[in-house]
Amino acid sequence: MVSDEDVEQLYQKLKEDAESAGYHLNPDRSFVMGIVRGLLTNMERFGYMACPCRLPSGVREEDLDIICPCDYRDQDLTEYGACYCALYVSERVARGEDELRPVPERRGSRQGTAQQRQVGEPKIAGLSKPVWRCRVCGYLCARDEPPEVCPICKASRERFERFM
C-alpha cells in the first residue's frame, strides 16, 4: 500500500522538478495527489511509474513511452494545455486563464510505436560526437552516450534516441 507520506514526498519532488524546468503541476492539489498515488501504485506493481491514466502492459520496454513524464506530455501541453492525466498543465491553465479540457489519446498502437522507434538513424558526417535527443522534452546533447538522467525533465537514459 502507498502511504500518505510517500505521496506527499513524491508530490514535493515533482513540483520542484517541474518548476525548476519551466513546467507546472495542476494547481488542483487533491486531484494531483490522486495522480501521484496512482504513480506510486504503478511503481509498486511494475517497478516503474507508468502513466496512471493508461493501461500498462507491465513490460518495461513496451511501456517506456508512457513512463511519467510520458513522451506525449509536451505536445499535449502545447495543444491542449495539459498532459493526458492533467498532472502537468500549461502556464495559462496553472494561472486559471484557460480551462482544463479532455485530452485525446495521442499514443498510437504499440506496433506503431515500435516501428517509429526503428525509423532510421540519421547520420551526419563530420560530427565529432553523436547527438542524443530526449524523447520526453526534446533536450539535445552531443556526447558519446546519453546522460543517466535528462537534466531538463529527469527522464532516464533509456528515453533518449540518437538524433544525429
Partner: protein, 93 residues
C-alpha cells in the same frame, strides 16, 4: 475482481470501464454517484489473464483505442470525463 454493481436510480444500462489509478475515472465514478444512478464498473487494471482479455475484447467494440474512462450508457459511448455528455446520455439535464 470483475464488474461491480452500484445500486441507484435506474437510468438504463450503464457500464464504466475504468482504471483504479486514474483520476478521470474517479471523477466519472464520483459524477455517477452524485447523480445517484445505478451502474456497473470494472477496474480493468485489477484484472488479469482470461478475464482481462475478455474485458479488452468487450471494450474494443465500444472504444477501439482502449482508453479510460469509457462509459457506455444506453448504447452511447462516452470516452473521457465529459460531464455534459454523461448527463445527457443518462437523461439528466
Amino acid at each position: 475482481m470483475g464488474k461491480v454493481h452500484v445500486d441507484g436510480r435506474d437510468a438504463g444500462g450503464v457500464t464504466l470501464y475504468a482504471l483504479s489509478t486514474c483520476m478521470w475515472c474517479k471523477k466519472t465514478r464520483d459524477l455517477l454517484s452524485k447523480l445517484g444512478v445505478s451502474y456497473d464498473y470494472v477496474y480493468v487494471d485489477l484484472t488479469s489473464g482470461a478475464e482481462r482479455a475478455g474485458l479488452i475484447d468487450e471494450l474494443r467494440k465500444f472504444n477501439p483505442n482502449l482508453t479510460f474512462p469509457t462509459l457506455v450508457a444506453n448504447g452511447k459511448v462516452i470516452v473521457g470525463y465529459r460531464e455534459k455528455e454523461i448527463k445527457s446520455a443518462l437523461g439528466v439535464a
